[in-house]
C-alpha cells in the first residue's frame, strides 16, 4: 500500500515533469496540448488557476512553467486494462471470438456511455496580487509588424496574450491596428517557431544549446579581423528607437567600425522621402501630412492607405478629413489599382512608371500659374529644375487635361500632393520625391498641411545602406542578420547569396526565414511581444515595447544574445541586459523632459501608458537645391510589384489568417496572381486562371492571370508577399532543406525574381519590362467573390451624389418603418445595432483579422476556401461600378445583419438560432445539428458551416495543431457539424454588462466595442444601443444616407426582403457623380457588362 502522499505526488507528477524542460520542447507537453486542443477547446476558460506567475512590472519574469493550457483540462480517459480478466468462456462461441466481441463491446461502451472525463484545476503557487484568474490584464507595448511603430494594447489572460488592440494614447495607432498587427498573435504562437539555436555542421543545421552558440560565435569572432579592426557587420531592419544605437555600441565593443551597421526595409518609401528632404532642405525627415487642413489631396502613385509611411495613422486622418461638412477631395493618378486609388474621389489611370512625368507636368503647370506660392528664391530654383527636364516630360493628353483641371483648385485652397509608393518604386522614385517637394512648396503646403515639427521619425534606414553593404561586403567575415530576410526580400539579381558565400552568417529572426538556409548560425530570437524595446515613430513621441508573455520557445532577445556573445569574449558591455540599456536611455529622456521625479515612477507610468511624449523642436532650413534627372523607362508591358497590404514583403505569409483574409480588391486568397487590364488580357487572348510566364531581364516566373479592371493596359501587377519555396526544395548553398513555414510553402511566386536593376541605391520593385507568354497550363485562383457587379440589386450597395447627401443631411428617417404583416419585434432595455459607413471603409481587412482572432474563427486552407468553405464571420465584398477601364470601387463589410425578421430563424428545426430580446440573432452551437437550412435561407450568405473540426492552422491535410494558447478563452470553439456566424462579439457585451451591473448602471455608448469596430482604422463601424437615441449608432441609423442591405428602396415604397436588419449601412457619397446615377443612389448601369476577361 502506497503512502497517500506518494499517490498525491504521482497525481501531480506530470506538472513536475513539464516544469523540467521547456514546455514546448517536452514531447509529453506537446501531446498534452494536442489532446486539449482536440478534446477540450474551452479548457482555457475554466483555467481558474494557472501556474504561470507574473509580475506586473516585469512581465518577462514569468514562472518557468507556462504551458498551463496543456495541463488544465487534460483528459484522463481511464482505459480499463484489466477487464479481460473477467472472461467467461461458458458461451457457445470460441475463446478468440469471445475476446474479439468483448473488446469490441468495451470499445463501444467506452465510446458512448462513459461519463464526462475528469478535468483538473491547477492554482498558482504564488498568485501575483494584481492577477485574478479569469480577469484580463492589459499591457501596453509597440507593434513590431512593420516599421511604422503603432502602439498596442495586449489583452492577456493568465499570462497569455489573447488579443491585441491599438493603443489609444499613442497617436500613430490611435486605437487601431492593421491586419498584420492584428495577426501578430499567430506569429507569437506559431507552431513552426524554432525551438532551439542551430549551427551548420557539415552542411546541415544541427541543434545546439545557447551556450554552444555563444562559445562558437565568440571563437569565430575572436579569430576574425586584422589591423583595421574586426571584419564584422550587422544587417538589420529599420528602427526608430534606441536599437541601432545599441547595435553600434556592440560593433564598437567588438572592435569593428560603427558604420558596419546596415539597415534595410522593403518599404522604401520612407527612405526615398527622407533622402529627398535631406537633399532639398538638409534634414533627413518625413513631414507628417495633416489631411484635415487640406481641401484637396492629390496622390501620384501614392499608397498611403496600402502601406505608405504609416497606413493606420493615415487611414484615420483620411477618414476624418472626409466628413460631409468639410470634405477633403482626393484625386489619385495611378497605373495599377491600389486600395488608395480605390478610395479616391477621382482616379486617373496613367501609364505605368510615368508618375515622374505626371508630377513634373503638374509642377510645370503650377509654376506658370500666377497664384503660385513659395518665395522668389524657391520658385527660381524650381523653375530652373523644371527647365532642365521639361523636354523629357511626356504625358498623355487626357492626363494633361486632368492636371489642368486640378491646378486652379489646388491653388485656391490649402492642398497637398503625395507621391510614390511600393508599386512604383522604380529608378525615378527619388526624383519623384524631389518633384513632390517642389509641388508642395508651390502649394504652400509646408508648415501648414505638412507638419515638420512632429514629423515622422524615419526608420533609421539610410538611403545608401544597402549600397554600402554591397561595396563593403568583401571586408566582412561575419554578418549578423537581425530581424531581416534579405535572401527573400532583396531581388535575386542583387546576388546577395553569392556575395556572402563562405562567410559566417548569423540569422537572428523570430521565425524561420529563407536567410536561415544560407546561414551558418540560426539563432531564434524573441517575437516582438516577448521583447523589450522602444520606437520613436513621431519625433518626440517615444513608444515603449515590453514583453507581455514569458517566451514561448527557447528564444532569446536578439540584443541579449549579442551581449552574451560579448561577455563570452570577455568584452562585456556595461549592461546586464538590453532592458537595462533601455532604462539608461530612458533616464536620459526623463532628464531631457526635465522630469525631476523618481525614475521608477517615470518608467512605470510609461509602461502603463505605452508612450512618452517629449518636446520637440523642428525647424527646416531654406531650400538648398532641387535636382532631378529622369531615367528612361522601358516601353510596353511593365511589371509592378507593390508590397501586399497584408503580407507586406512576405513577413505575413506564414500567418494563415492573413493568407485566408485574401486581397481586398481581387478577393484572391492563398495565392499570387498576375493582374492585367481586361483589355490587355483580351488582346493577348488570355483568360482568368491561365498560367502566364512573365519574363523579365532578371528572370522569369509563372503565375495565373486575374484580369483586373482599372489597370492601365501596360501594367502587369504581381504583388509581393508570397513565393516561398515549397518544402523540401533545396535552397541553400549547402543543400539544406528550405526552412519556410508549411503555411506559405509553395504558395504563389516572388515577383522580385524578374527584376534586373542593380544600379539603384534601393531595390527596384516596379518598371521592369516584361514579356508575357502563355504556358498552356491553368491554375485555379481562389477568388472568393465570384461576382463583381451588383447587377440589378442596387439595394446591396447604395451610392448617392455628394450634393444630394449634403442637401438632405439634416433629415432623418426611420428604417424600421416597414409595412409588414408580422408584428414589430419588441426589445428590452437594449437593442443592439451596427452602422457601417461605406464612405469610410477603405478595405484594409483589419476587421476580418480582428474578428477571426477575437472569435476563434479557424482558417481552413486553400482547398477548402476553393470549395467555398471559408469561415469568415465578417467578409469584405468588393463591387466595381462603371466601365472596366477605370471603375469606381465600393468595399462593403458584410456580416450577420441580425435581422429582426430573420429568414434563418424560421427554418431552424431545432431552435439553434433564435432572436434574443436585445435584437441579436443568437446562435446556440450546442443545439445545432447541422442541417444548414439557415445558411440556405440567409440572403446575405454570412452563415458558416464547420465542415471539419478545424485545427488552429491546418492547411488542408497538413498536421498543424491548434495552439490552445492562441484561442480566446471567452469564446466557445466550434466543432464539426455546427453552424456559426457573427454574434456582435457577445462575450464583450456580456463582460460589459456584468461590469455595468456591478456598478448598477446601464451600458454607456461605445463602452462595449465589437472587435471589428475597435480595430477599424477609419472608424467606419459603429456599434451600440439603438434604443438610446443619443447613441452614435442610433443617429447614424436615422441619417439620410442610411439604408438596409437588400432593403429595397423605401423612398419608392419598395421594401426589398423585409428582413429588418439591425445592421444598417451609410451610402457611399460620390463627389463626382456619374450622370446616370439615380437620385436614390441606385446603380442601373451595371448588369450587362461582363466582369472579367
Amino acid at each position: 500500500m502506497k503512502h497517500p502522499y506518494v499517490i498525491a505526488e504521482e497525481l501531480c507528477a506530470d506538472i513536475a515533469e513539464m516544469k523540467q524542460g521547456s514546455s514546448d520542447t517536452h514531447p509529453r507537453a506537446h501531446t498534452a496540448a494536442r489532446e486539449t486542443a482536440v478534446a477540450d477547446p474551452k479548457s482555457n476558460t475554466d483555467a481558474n488557476a494557472t501556474i504561470g506567475r507574473r509580475d506586473s512590472k516585469q512581465p518577462s519574469n514569468l514562472n518557468d512553467s507556462t504551458d498551463t493550457s496543456s495541463v488544465i483540462g487534460r483528459r484522463d480517459s481511464k482505459q480499463p486494462s484489466n477487464l479481460n480478466d473477467n472472461t467467461d468462456t461458458s458461451s457457445t462461441i470460441g475463446r478468440r471470438d469471445f475476446l474479439k466481441y468483448f473488446s469490441a463491446g468495451v470499445a463501444l461502451a467506452s465510446g458512448s456511455c462513459v461519463r464526462r472525463p475528469a478535468e483538473f484545476a491547477i492554482p498558482y503557487v504564488k498568485q501575483p496580487i494584481d492577477q485574478v484568474p479569469g480577469v484580463a490584464t492589459y499591457y501596453a507595448t509597440t507593434c513590431g509588424g512593420c516599421s511604422a511603430g503603432c502602439g498596442m494594447m495586449v489583452k492577456t489572460r493568465e499570462g497569455r496574450p489573447v488579443k491585441v488592440e491599438g493603443n489609444r494614447a499613442q497617436s500613430v495607432s490611435n486605437g487601431a491596428l492593421c491586419s498584420l498587427g492584428q495577426a501578430s498573435l499567430q506569429g507569437l504562437y506559431h507552431p513552426e517557431r524554432r525551438k532551439q539555436p542551430l549551427i551548420r555542421r557539415n552542411g546541415k543545421l544541427t541543434a545546439v544549446s545557447w551556450e554552444d552558440v555563444y562559445l562558437h560565435l565568440s571563437a569565430v569572432l575572436a579569430k576574425t579581423g586584422d589591423a583595421t579592426g574586426k571584419r564584422v557587420g550587422i544587417l538589420t531592419s529599420g528602427a526608430t528607437g534606441h536599437r541601432h544605437e545599441f547595435l553600434r555600441e556592440v560593433l564598437a565593443r567588438l572592435g569593428a567600425s560603427e558604420d558596419r551597421l546596415y539597415s534595410y526595409e522593403s518599404n522604401t518609401l520612407p527612405t526615398q522621402v527622407a533622402t529627398a528632404h535631406q537633399r532639398a532642405f538638409g534634414r533627413y525627415v518625413i513631414p507628417r501630412a495633416d489631411f484635415s487642413k487640406a481641401n484637396t489631396v492629390v496622390g501620384i502613385g501614392s499608397d498611403f492607405l496600402d502601406q505608405g509611411v504609416a497606413k493606420v495613422y493615415y487611414a484615420k486622418q483620411f477618414a476624418e478629413s472626409r466628413s460631409l461638412d468639410s470634405y477633403t477631395e482626393f484625386v489619385q493618378f495611378e497605373a495599377a489599382m491600389s486600395l488608395t486609388g480605390a478610395s479616391a474621389d477621382k482616379r486617373v489611370v496613367i501609364a505605368p512608371n510615368s508618375e515622374i512625368h505626371v508630377a513634373l507636368m503638374l509642377a510645370d503647370t503650377l509654376s506658370k500659374h500666377p497664384q503660385v506660392r513659395g518665395s522668389a528664391d524657391e520658385l527660381q530654383m524650381i523653375r530652373l529644375m523644371l527647365q532642365r527636364v521639361r523636354r523629357q516630360v511626356e504625358v498623355s493628353p487626357e492626363t494633361h487635361g486632368e492636371i489642368n483641371l486640378l491646378v486652379q483648385k489646388l491653388l485656391d485652397k490649402p492642398s497637398l500632393v503625395l507621391c510614390g509608393g511600393s508599386g512604383n518604386a522604380d529608378s525615378n522614385s527619388e526624383a519623384l520625391q524631389t518633384v513632390a517637394i517642389a509641388i508642395n512648396i508651390m502649394l504652400g503646403a509646408y508648415g501648414n498641411v505638412l507638419n515638420l515639427e512632429r514629423s515622422w521619425h524615419v526608420p533609421a534606414v539610410q538611403g545608401d545602406d544597402l549600397q554600402r553593404l554591397r561595396q563593403t561586403i568583401d571586408e566582412l567575415d561575419v554578418l549578423f542578420i537581425i530581424d531581416s530576410d534579405p535572401f527573400f526580400t532583396l531581388p535575386p539579381a542583387w546576388r546577395f547569396a553569392d556575395k556572402v558565400k563562405g562567410k559566417t552568417i548569423v540569422s537572428m529572426n523570430s521565425f524561420p526565414t529563407l536567410t536561415d538556409d544560407y546561414a551558418t548560425h540560426v539563432l531564434p530570437v524573441h517575437h516582438f511581444l516577448e521583447s523589450w524595446g522602444d520606437e520613436q515613430p513621431l519625433a518626440g513621441e517615444w513608444s515603449l515595447r515590453q514583453p507581455v508573455v514569458r517566451p514561448i520557445t527557447d528564444s532569446r532577445q536578439s540584443e541579449d544574445a549579442l551581449l552574451w556573445i560579448l561577455a563570452t569574449m570577455q568584452k562585456p558591455l556595461p549592461y546586464a541586459d538590453y532592458r537595462s540599456f533601455l532604462q539608461q536611455r530612458w533616464r536620459k529622456l526623463q532628464q531631457q523632459a526635465q522630469d525631476k521625479g523618481k525614475f521608477a515612477a517615470f518608467m512605470h507610468a510609461n509602461q502603463e501608458r505605452g508612450v512618452f511624449i517629449n518636446k520637440v523642436q523642428g525647424k527646416y532650413g531654406a531650400l538648398r537645391s532641387l535636382d532631378v534627372r529622369i531615367n528612361d523607362v522601358a516601353k510596353g508591358l511593365k511589371l509592378s510589384s507593390p508590397l501586399d497590404n497584408r503580407l507586406l514583403d512576405g513577413r505575413g505569409a506564414h500567418l494563415p489568417v492573413l493568407q485566408e483574409v485574401g486581397d481586398s480588391l481581387t478577393t484572391i486568397a492563398w495565392d499570387s496572381w498576375v493582374a492585367l487590364s481586361p483589355a490587355t488580357a483580351k488582346r493577348l487572348g488570355l483568360r482568368r486562371n491561365d498560367v502566364l510566364r512573365v519574363q523579365g531581364a532578371g528572370g522569369a516566373i509563372e503565375a495565373a492571370l486575374y484580369p483586373m479592371p482599372g489597370l492601365h493596359d501596360e501594367t502587369v501587377l504581381i504583388p509581393q508577399g508570397n513565393g516561398y519555396p515549397d518544402a523540401g526544395v533545396s535552397g541553400g548553398e549547402a543543400g539544406g532543406r528550405a526552412v519556410v513555414s508549411k503555411v506559405s510553402a509553395g504558395i504563389g511566386v516572388n515577383p522580385l525574381a524578374v527584376y534586373s536593376d542593380v544600379a539603384g541605391r534601393l531595390p527596384v520593385t516596379s518598371g521592369e519590362a516584361v514579356r508575357i507568354t502563355r504556358t498552356g497550363k491553368t491554375h485555379q485562383l481562389v477568388v472568393m467573390q465570384k461576382e463583381s457587379k451588383l447587377g440589378n440589386r442596387g439595394d446591396i450597395v447604395k451610392r448617392m451624389p455628394m450634393a444630394q447627401a449634403v442637401k438632405h443631411s439634416g433629415e432623418t428617417k426611420n428604417l424600421d418603418k416597414v409595412p409588414d404583416l408580422y408584428p414589430q419585434l419588441e426589445t428590452a432595455e437594449y437593442r443592439w445595432g451596427m452602422s457601417i459607413d461605406l464612405q469610410k471603409c477603405i478595405g484594409c481587412s483589419a476587421c476580418m483579422v480582428a474578428c477571426a482572432q477575437e472569435n476563434n474563427v479557424p482558417q481552413v486552407g486553400r482547398n477548402q476556401v476553393a470549395l467555398g468553405r471559408e469561415m469568415h464571420w465578417l467578409r469584405l465584398d468588393r463591387y466595381f461600378h462603371g466601365e472596366l477601364e477605370n471603375p469606381a470601387v465600393t468595399i462593403q463589410p458584410m456580416l450577420c445583419q441580425h435581422c429582426n425578421h430573420a429568414p434563418c430563424e424560421a427554418v431552424c428545426p431545432v431552435y439553434a438560432t433564435t432572436h434574443d430580446a436585445e435584437g441579436i440573432n443568437a446562435m446556440t452551437y450546442n443545439r445545432c445539428v447541422g442541417t444548414r437550412y439557415c445558411a440556405n435561407a440567409c440572403p446575405y450568405k454570412v452563415r458558416r458551416f464547420n465542415w471539419w473540426t478545424h485545427k488552429w492552422n491546418v492547411i488542408d491535410d497538413q498536421d498543424h495543431n491548434r495552439n490552445p494558447r492562441a484561442l480566446n478563452p471567452d469564446v466557445t470553439v466550434r466543432t464539426r457539424g455546427v453552424m456559426e456566424k457573427c454574434n456582435f462579439c457577445y462575450q464583450r457585451l456580456r463582460d460589459g454588462k456584468h461590469k455595468a451591473q456591478q456598478e448598477q448602471r446601464s451600458l454607456r455608448d461605445n463602452e462595449v466595442m465589437t472587435a471589428c469596430q475597435e480595430t477599424c482604422p477609419t472608424d467606419a463601424i459603429t456599434f451600440g444601443n439603438l434604443h438610446d437615441k443619443q447613441s452614435e449608432v442610433a443617429k447614424q441609423r436615422q441619417d439620410y444616407r442610411a439604408y438596409l442591405a437588400l432593403g429595397g428602396y423605401p423612398e419608392l415604397g419598395e421594401y426589398g426582403l423585409k428582413t429588418l436588419p439591425n445592421v444598417s449601412y451609410l451610402a457611399k457619397t460620390l463627389l463626382h457623380a456619374p450622370a446616370d446615377e439615380h437620385a436614390h443612389g441606385n446603380d442601373h448601369d451595371e448588369g450587362n457588362s461582363d466582369g472579367h476577361g
Partner: protein, 170 residues
C-alpha cells in the same frame, strides 16, 4: 447461428451496463454525488468551523467568472503556523517550497459550451450554498446540484433572470 448472435448481443448489452455502472460516479448521470479523489484531503468543514468565509479563499467569486481554487500562498498564509504537524500540511509545505502547484480534480465542471460567471451570481446575492450545497458541512467536497440546464433555467425563471440562449451559450 441466431443463438450465437444472441449471445453476442447479450454480451454487448451487459458490457454497456457494466461500463455505465463502472464509470458513472454517484447514482445518476447528472454527476450528483461526484466526489473524486483529490491529491490532498482538504476538509471544508474544518475550515468553516474556524469561521473562515468562503470568499477568503475563493476570492475570484466576486471579481471573476471563476471562483478560483486558492493559490498555495493563500494556504500557507495560515498553514505556516497552523497544523504544521499534519501529513497533508507537510506535503503542502513541501510542494510550496519546491514551487510546485497542486493538481486538483474539478468537482463542479460545466460543459465546454456553457459560459458561467460567478461574479454576477454573487452580485445577485445568490449564496454559495445554493449551488454548491452545504460545503461547510462537507469533509470531502461533493457535487450536490445536477448543474444541468433545466436546473439552471428553473432558478433563472424563479429569479426572473434572463433565459435567452445567449445568456450562457456563445
Amino acid at each position: 447461428m441466431w443463438k450465437q448472435y444472441l449471445v453476442v448481443l447479450g454480451l454487448f448489452c451487459s458490457e454497456g451496463l457494466y461500463a455505465w455502472w463502472l464509470w458513472t460516479p454517484g447514482d445518476s448521470v447528472d454527476n450528483v454525488g461526484y466526489s473524486p479523489a483529490q491529491p490532498l484531503p482538504f476538509d471544508h468543514k474544518i475550515h468553516a468551523e474556524h469561521k473562515i468565509p468562503c470568499e477568503y479563499c475563493h476570492s475570484g467569486a466576486r471579481r471573476s467568472t471563476v471562483a478560483g481554487i486558492p493559490a498555495q500562498n493563500t494556504c500557507m498564509g495560515c498553514h505556516k503556523f497552523v497544523a504544521t504537524d499534519k501529513d497533508a500540511i507537510k506535503f503542502l509545505a513541501k510542494r510550496f517550497k519546491e514551487n510546485k502547484p497542486i493538481k486538483w480534480v474539478k468537482v463542479h465542471d460545466l460543459p465546454d459550451y456553457v459560459r458561467f460567471s460567478h461574479q454576477v451570481h454573487v452580485a445577485a446575492n445568490i449564496a454559495c450554498q445554493d449551488c454548491h450545497g452545504k460545503v461547510e458541512d462537507m469533509s470531502v467536497a461533493v457535487q450536490v446540484a445536477p448543474l444541468q440546464m433545466g436546473w439552471c433555467v428553473d432558478c433563472h425563471r424563479e429569479k426572473q433572470a434572463d433565459i435567452a440562449c445567449l445568456t450562457c451559450h456563445y
